[in-house]
Symmetry: C2
C-alpha cells in the first residue's frame, strides 16, 4: 500500500483510486470476500478526502466489484458471477473496464447513467427532446400500417426490400444512385460502424478520423482491435495518410456534413481533396451523414454522390430526424460489401425489427417523413437562434462559437481551458448535464458540446445560467 | 497447380476448389485482375466435371472474390473494395470466409440464401410459417398502442421498464423470481449469446454444449475466440467437466426444454445434475428456453427456477412464439451481470427497437400473447400429428423418430448415414430445403431436423415424398 494517487491533469484522484483497487482485484491481491480497510484509514494513507474514497467505492460497487455491508465496510464482491468476472481479466475488462482509466470513458458512463434522471437539465444530449419526437403522428400512422405476414418473419439479410426501395428514392434526391442491393439496413449508425469494424477490417487496421471526433466517444473500432489515427486537413494530405497507414489496411471515417460535435461541414473542395487522396491510396471512406436532413439550408452534396468507384460507404439514419427508438439506419455500399455487412449482421442479431422497418418505409413512402423533417428543421432553427441569443447575452466575454447551419449542436469554446472533469462534476452536482469537449478530443479542455435539441427553452435558460456561474468560478480558480 | 481435389466424406469437390482458389487470392498468388484458366482446362487438370468448376466459380463470384466477363472467363475481382477485402486476410475472412471449408457452414449459407425463394418447400425451417404469425391481430393491436414520447427516444440500457415489468410477471409463472433490474432486453436470443460471449468471457474460455447443438449452427462464441467443448451426460460429469475446463474460465450452454434440433427435454434429475455439477465448479449455465411457450403439456420448470446463487443466465424470446420480426428476447441474470450485458449492448446498437418493445409489452400485459400462444400450441400439435402420420406411412422402414412434446421439430433419424451434403444438394435441386443433422453435429450423417412449423400441409406432403424418393435413392447407392 505504498501507492498514492497524485494530482493529474486528466485523471481525477477518484479515477486513480478506482483503477488501483480494480487492479488489486484483477491481480488477485484482493480476493472475493476481502474486507477493505476503513474509509477513514484509506483517506489518511492516500491523503485524500474521505468523500473521494467514498465516491470511488460507490463507483466500484455500481460496477459490481465491491459490495458494502451495513456497519462493516466494503468487501470484494463474493457472488459466483462477480468472482468469475473479476477472477481472470475477461474480454469485457479489456474492452470496457480497462477504460475506467480514461476520464472521457468514465464521463460518458456518468452521462449515460444520469440521462434517465428527469430532474436533470441536459445541455449536451445528442437526441431530440420528447416534444420534438412525432409521437402522436407515429401513433396515428400505426393505424394505417398493413402487415404482410411475410414481412414480420425473419428478415432478408439486407433488410426489408420495401424500405430499401424507399431509401433508394430518397438517396436519388441527394445525387446518390443506389439499387436495393447496395443498401444494408442496420439498427442505427453505431451498429453500422460495428459491422464495418468486424466485417471489413482486420485487427490492427488503421482508422483515420478528424482530431475532434464522434469516434472518440464510441469505440466500435478500438473494441475490434483497430488503431485510431487522427488526421488533419491541409497540404500533402495524401502523403501524410500514406505514411501514417504504413501499408496497413486502413479506412477513413468522417462526418463531412454537420460534424458531431462541432456542427461544421466540409466545403466542396475539402470533400474533393479527401476523396482524391483516399482514392489514390485506395483507402475506403466511411461517410457518416446522419445529420443531413437537419441542414437549415441545402449544403454540398454527399461525397458518395461523386463516388464512381465504390470507394465510399455512406451511412444514414432516422435516429436524429425521426425517432431513435426506431433503431433504423442504413449503409450504402458496393453490393458485395453490402452483402458482407448483411451477413455479419445476420450472425449478430438476425436483422433489425421488422416493425421498425415497416414504419420507416411507410413514413418515407407517404411523405410523412419529409413533412415532419421540414417542421423539425424550422423548430431546430428557432431553438438555435434562441440559444445563440442567450449566449450573446451571457457568454460574450467567456466564450466563442459559430452560428449553427443545422443539426443539434453549438460547439462552445471557452477562452480558458476550464472544461475539465471537475467542471463537469460541479455542473452535475447542480443537476446540469454537459458533454465536455474532452469526450471528443482527450486533449481539449476548452469546449463543450451544447445541444439545443433536448432541453426546453426554460431548461436551456436555467442550464446556461448554471453554466455561466460555474464557468466564472472556474475562471477565477 | 499440382493440387487436385479428392473425394472426402465432409468436403465436396466444389468446396475444396472454392477453398483452394480463395487461398490463392488470399496469399496473393492470384492478384486482382488475374484471369483464371478456362473452366474446361481447370476441369481437366482437376479431373472433375466442368459443372463443378462452374459451381465453384459461381460461389466465389457471389462472394465477390471473382468476377466474370462475358466471353472471356473469370477474373480475380478488381474493384477497390474487393481487392482490399481479399488483400490482407481481414477479420471477416477469419470469422466468416475461413469457414467456407466447413461444409456445415456452407450448407447454412445455402439455406439462408435459398430461404427467401417462395417456390421452395422448406422442410427444416426453424420459424413459424407466415400463416401462423398473428399478422392481423398484430395489425389491430397497433391501433391500441399509446406511444409515450419518452419511450421512443434512446432506450435505457436494460430496455423498456414497462416490458421488463411485464416479463417479470411472466417469469413468476415459471417459478423464476426476477426484478426488472435482473432483466436485459435483447434483439433475440442470438444477440444474447453474442453479448455473453463479448461481455462476460475472455478469449480462450471453454463453452460446454451438448454434442448435438444449436451452437454448431451459429458461431457467437467461436467468433469471439472461445473453444467449444461438447459434454455428455452421465456419471462423473463434474469430474469430466473439471478436467476439460483445465482451469480456464468456462460456461455451459444448453436448451434443456425442447432442444433445438432434437426436440428433447431434460428430466428433472438431469437438470439437477447439471446444476449441481456446475455450481460446484462455479461454471455458469446459459439456459436457452426460447421454446418453452410451445410445450404441448407442462414440462419440468426451468433450471433458473431452482437457482438460488445466480449461477444461471436464463434466455427467452418472442421469436418462436409471436414474431421473429419483433427481434425481442431477454436475459435474466444477477443485476450486475444484466447491467454488464446492457452496457455492451449499448455499445453495440443503443438498444432494441422501442416500437418492438412497446408491442411486446402490450401483448404480454393485455393477455393477447397468452391467448395467441394457446392457439399456436394447438395448431402446432395438429401439424405435428399430421406430419407423424405421414412419417408412419412413408418412412417406417427408413427412419426412426420420437413423438414431439412441443416446439417445431422432429429429429428424424435415417437408419443409414445418407444425410450428407449431396443428399442436401439433390433435394435442393428438387426445390426441397432440409436442415441436415451435420449442421448441428458435424459427425452426424443420420439425422435431419424436420420442422412442421413452416411448410403448409400440402408442401409437407410433397416435401416428404421427395425426401422419401431421395432417401431411397441414397439407400441404394
Amino acid at each position: 500500500m505504498d501507492w498514492k494517487p497524485s494530482p493529474h491533469p486528466h485523471h481525477t484522484l477518484q479515477a486513480q483510486i478506482v483503477a488501483w483497487i480494480a487492479e488489486r482485484i484483477e491481480h488477485g491481491d484482493w480476493n472475493a470476500g476481502f474486507r477493505l480497510p476503513a474509509q477513514r484509514e484509506l483517506a489518511a494513507r492516500w491523503s485524500v478526502n474521505r468523500s473521494t474514497v467514498q465516491a470511488a467505492i460507490d463507483e466500484l460497487r455500481a460496477e459490481g466489484l465491491l459490495e458494502t455491508r451495513r456497519g462493516s465496510g466494503a468487501y470484494v464482491s463474493g457472488s459466483a458471477w462477480n468472482a468469475l468476472l473479476a477472477r481472470s481479466q475477461p474480454n469485457w475488462q479489456r474492452h470496457i473496464r480497462a477504460s475506467v482509466h480514461k476520464p472521457n470513458r468514465h464521463t460518458i458512463r456518468l452521462i449515460n447513467d444520469n440521462e434517465p434522471d428527469p430532474s436533470l437539465v441536459r445541455l449536451g444530449t445528442g437526441e431530440l427532446s420528447p416534444e420534438l419526437l412525432p409521437a402522436r403522428e407515429l401513433e396515428r400512422s400505426l393505424r394505417d400500417l398493413k402487415l404482410d405476414p411475410r414481412a414480420i418473419g425473419y428478415s432478408e439479410p439486407l433488410g426489408s426490400l420495401r424500405l430499401r426501395r424507399a431509401l433508394c428514392v430518397q438517396l436519388e434526391r441527394l445525387g446518390i444512385r443506389a439499387q436495393p442491393d447496395n443498401v444494408c439496413i442496420v439498427s442505427g449508425a453505431l451498429q453500422a460502424l460495428q459491422l464495418i469494424a468486424v466485417g471489413l477490417l482486420e485487427e490492427g487496421s488503421a482508422v483515420f478520423h478528424e482530431p475532434i471526433s464522434y469516434l472518440n466517444s464510441v469505440h466500435p473500432f478500438q473494441s475490434a482491435g483497430m488503431r485510431m489515427l487522427p488526421f488533419r486537413h491541409g497540404p500533402q494530405l495524401r502523403e501524410r495518410l500514406a505514411r501514417a497507414a504504413r501499408g496497413r489496411q486502413s479506412l477513413l471515417y468522417a462526418v463531412p456534413t454537420l460534424n458531431n460535435p462541432t456542427g461544421r461541414s466540409w466545403n466542396p473542395a475539402r470533400r474533393q481533396g479527401i476523396y482524391d487522396a483516399c482514392s489514390e491510396l485506395r483507402i475506403p471512406i466511411v461517410e457518416d451523414d446522419v445529420y443531413r436532413d437537419l441542414l437549415f439550408a441545402p449544403g454540398p452534396p454527399p461525397i458518395k454522390a461523386t463516388d464512381g468507384s465504390g470507394q465510399v460507404l455512406y451511412m444514414g439514419s432516422l435516429s436524429k430526424s425521426l425517432s431513435p427508438g426506431l433503431r433504423i439506419g442504413w449503409v450504402v455500399a458496393p453490393s458485395p460489401v453490402a452483402a458482407r455487412l448483411a451477413d455479419v449482421k445476420m450472425q449478430t442479431d438476425y436483422g433489425s425489427s421488422a416493425f421498425s422497418q415497416e414504419i420507416a418505409a411507410h413514413w418515407l413512402e407517404t411523405g410523412l417523413y419529409e413533412r415532419h423533417a421540414e417542421r423539425l428543421r424550422s423548430e431546430l432553427r428557432r431553438r438555435a437562434a434562441r440559444t445563440e441569443s442567450a449566449l450573446r447575452e451571457r457568454f460574450r466575454e467567456l466564450a466563442d462559437w459559430e452560428t449553427p447551419e443545422g443539426g443539434f449542436y453549438i460547439w462552445l469554446r471557452f477562452r480558458k481551458p476550464i472544461a475539465d472533469k471537475s467542471f463537469f462534476r460541479r455542473l452535475l452536482d447542480r443537476k446540469v448535464l454537459i458533454n465536455p469537449g474532452y469526450i471528443y478530443d482527450p486533449s481539449d479542455l476548452h469546449h463543450i458540446r451544447l445541444s439545443y435539441a433536448y432541453a426546453s427553452d426554460e431548461e436551456m435558460q436555467a442550464g446556461l445560467n448554471a453554466l455561466r456561474e460555474e464557468a466564472e468560478r472556474a475562471w477565477r480558480d
